[in-house]
């Protein structure tokens, strides 16, 4: 399997704090890769750098064979790299359906077309059915529960037919039933060809779903391997427990 995403010696400093310090790793195509590490190890900062929300101080990000370091988030999204946020970010003033339509990543020419056209509706309705959001399609996103918002955010980033999806704590703040639902959707989409990179604190979720697992500590990769090996790795235990 070739690498879909590779991070090469990426660094980012905030004031005197080295949030990411010369981090390098790769995400192979077709995998569900986990990115774990203690709080403050630089996971979300790295997500922000990969998706163009932050500029790295040094290093390179390569996506699908192209150097995308410093690219605009919108451009990256349109080229197939999308993400969700730790706190589900949907547009509360838009309906559930419109939240999907707005995320389709269109060109300039379509800006002056109908707000929700027939094509948009057809495309979105498949996702709405798949995520069981069809009954609430016309409600404002503001009226959804938090778990539903997480699902909606996930469904919305699939509108652009991405090849790589970065999920930032997909199970945080949602109930066990919703966690199972989320896991099922990730598996289905992975089988359909989407590669995932997931930041997650729920270790049972990671162990069930992800392979390989990359562990960060103090802005560096300290381990990469199968989930079973993570639990017995001395460096990882040291990072988590400070033993």
């Amino acid at each position: 399997m070739s690498d879909l995403l590779s991070i090469d010696s990426v660094s980012k400093t905030f004031g005197g704090v080295h949030a990411v310090a010369g981090c390098s790793f790769a995400v192979a195509e077709g995998t569900i890769t986990a990115l774990i590490g203690p709080n403050g190890s630089g996971k979300t900062t790295l997500f922000n750098i990969i998706t163009g929300y932050l500029k790295a101080d040094a290093g390179h990000v390569t996506f699908a064979g192209r150097d995308v370091t410093g690219d605009d988030p919108g451009r990256l999204y349109r080229s197939g790299l999308s993400r969700t946020f730790q706190q589900a970010r949907v547009f509360p003033q838009l309906s559930v359906l419109e939240n999907l339509v707005v995320a389709a990543g269109r060109g300039w020419s379509q800006l002056f077309t109908k707000r929700v056209g027939g094509d948009d509706r057809r495309r979105a309705s498949e996702l709405l059915e798949e995520f069981r959001l069809a009954p609430v399609a016309d409600l404002l996103a503001a009226d959804l529960s938090y778990g539903q918002r997480k699902l909606l955010e996930f469904a919305a980033v699939l509108m652009s037919s991405p090849t790589l999806v970065l999920l930032d704590e997909p199970t945080a703040g949602v109930n066990p039933v919703m966690i199972e639902t989320m896991e099922r959707h990730i598996r289905q989409r992975n089988q359909a060809g989407i590669t995932f990179l997931i930041v997650e604190h729920d270790m049972t979720f990671v162990m069930r779903l992800c392979d390989p697992v990359i562990v960060l500590d103090a802005g560096r990769q300290i381990f990469s391997g199968q989930p079973a090996q993570v639990q017995s790795n001395a460096l990882v235990l040291d990072a988590y427990l400070g033993a």
Binding site: F91, L94, E98, Q148, N175
Partner: protein, 348 residues
């Protein structure tokens, strides 16, 4: 929604178009000219301040640019035809939109309160220029325009109808934006610009477009105003109070709605002029004006139309839940999700 909007719009235009034929007095038509000016400017401001969520305080600068453009073109000119200045309005709008383009590109790198400060700074810059470029603007001496050669008995009517057309144009632009992906993108920008950028929304494009269209329309109103007044001074042509009035009207009626700014302008401008007339030369009318605003905002905090719309929506939902207990509710797809109140309507 579409049919309802068309019917409402048609009725509104019909009433406005036939109003002067009722032989109304000059003071009333004069009042209507100002109401229409503010309704058009508020609707135009709504594109940026309402839909895109960028609270520009610099719109009066473009009102002034429009007014001075008109004055500079026709100063010392003898009009052969009173409608000539009106025909140049689209050109004034286009020039002002072009002036607005680099301003938007620079100012819209900032957001919210910083954007408001940047734009109001631009307003004072333009006002200072108007005071000091005496060779062009006449400085504080002002600049005259030829008096419109319309008969005294119907002097206001050409201005009135031009403003009705401008207001219709602005409402059609707003309606078109709302029904297209431009409107969808603007709502996304207002709700969460960073997220919108990250999902491929043409963020810079739509907000700069909204700004240019908005200031172009504002400048056209400025042009009509200059021709109507026939003499303009920097402190009145580029007046922060114009911006503030437009913002208040939009907030009062309901920002990011089609009819809210129009409603706000009709209530506040008509109220202000009437109160100023009744309470005479004293400044007491300002207290009454503020009182009208405060009472409405206290009772309908998100503006008249959004608050009433919300209440109607809540009532409908409550009724539908009552009548179909066990039917589809927002929680149906969320399985065992707890019923957490997550409505963020108040910040919308």
């Amino acid at each position: 929604m579409s049919r309802g909007s068309l019917v409402r719009g048609g009725l509104f235009v019909l009433v406005l178009a036939t109003l002067p034929s009722f032989g109304l007095q000059h003071w009333f038509l004069n009042l209507m000219v100002f109401v229409l000016m503010f309704a058009t400017m508020s609707s135009a401001w709504n594109l940026v301040g309402g839909f895109a969520g960028y609270p520009s305080l610099g719109h009066a600068a473009f009102f002034g640019i429009g007014a001075y453009s008109m004055a500079l073109i026709f100063h010392g000119h003898v009009l052969s035809n009173g409608y000539e200045p009106f025909l140049l309005l689209p050109l004034i709008g286009l020039i002002s939109a072009a002036v607005g383009f680099p301003i938007a590109l620079i100012a819209m790198r900032t957001r919210a309160d910083v954007f408001a400060i940047v734009t109001i700074t631009f307003l004072f810059m333009v006002q200072t220029l108007a005071f000091n470029l005496r060779g062009w603007t006449g400085g504080s001496q002002g600049l005259s325009l030829p008096v419109a050669p319309f008969p005294a008995v119907s002097f206001e009517e050409p201005f009135y109808y031009t403003l009705v057309l401008l207001l219709c144009f602005t409402l059609l632009v707003t309606f078109g934006a709302l029904r297209s992906k431009v409107g969808l993108s603007l709502v996304a920008v207002r709700a969460d610009e960073d997220k919108a950028r990250g999902i491929g929304v043409r963020v810079t494009g739509v907000k700069v477009l909204a700004f240019c269209v908005s200031v172009g329309i504002t400048a056209m109103v400025g042009g009509v105003w200059a021709y109507y007044e026939t003499f303009i001074y920097p402190q009145f042509a580029i007046d922060p109070l114009i911006t503030i009035a437009v913002v208040l009207m939009t907030f009062l009626g309901g920002r990011a709605t089609l009819w809210g700014p129009v409603l706000g302008a009709f209530v506040l401008e008509a109220g202000q002029q009437t109160l100023a007339y009744r309470l005479g030369g004293s400044q007491f009318y300002l207290i009454a004006y503020a009182l009208v605003f405060l009472v409405i905002m206290l009772l309908l905090p998100r503006g008249v139309l959004p608050t009433l719309g919300d209440r109607l929506r809540q009532r409908r939902r409550a009724r539908s839940v009552d009548s179909t207990s066990g039917g589809v509710t927002p929680m149906a797809a969320g399985a065992a999700e707890p019923p957490v109140a997550l409505r963020r309507g108040a910040s919308a």
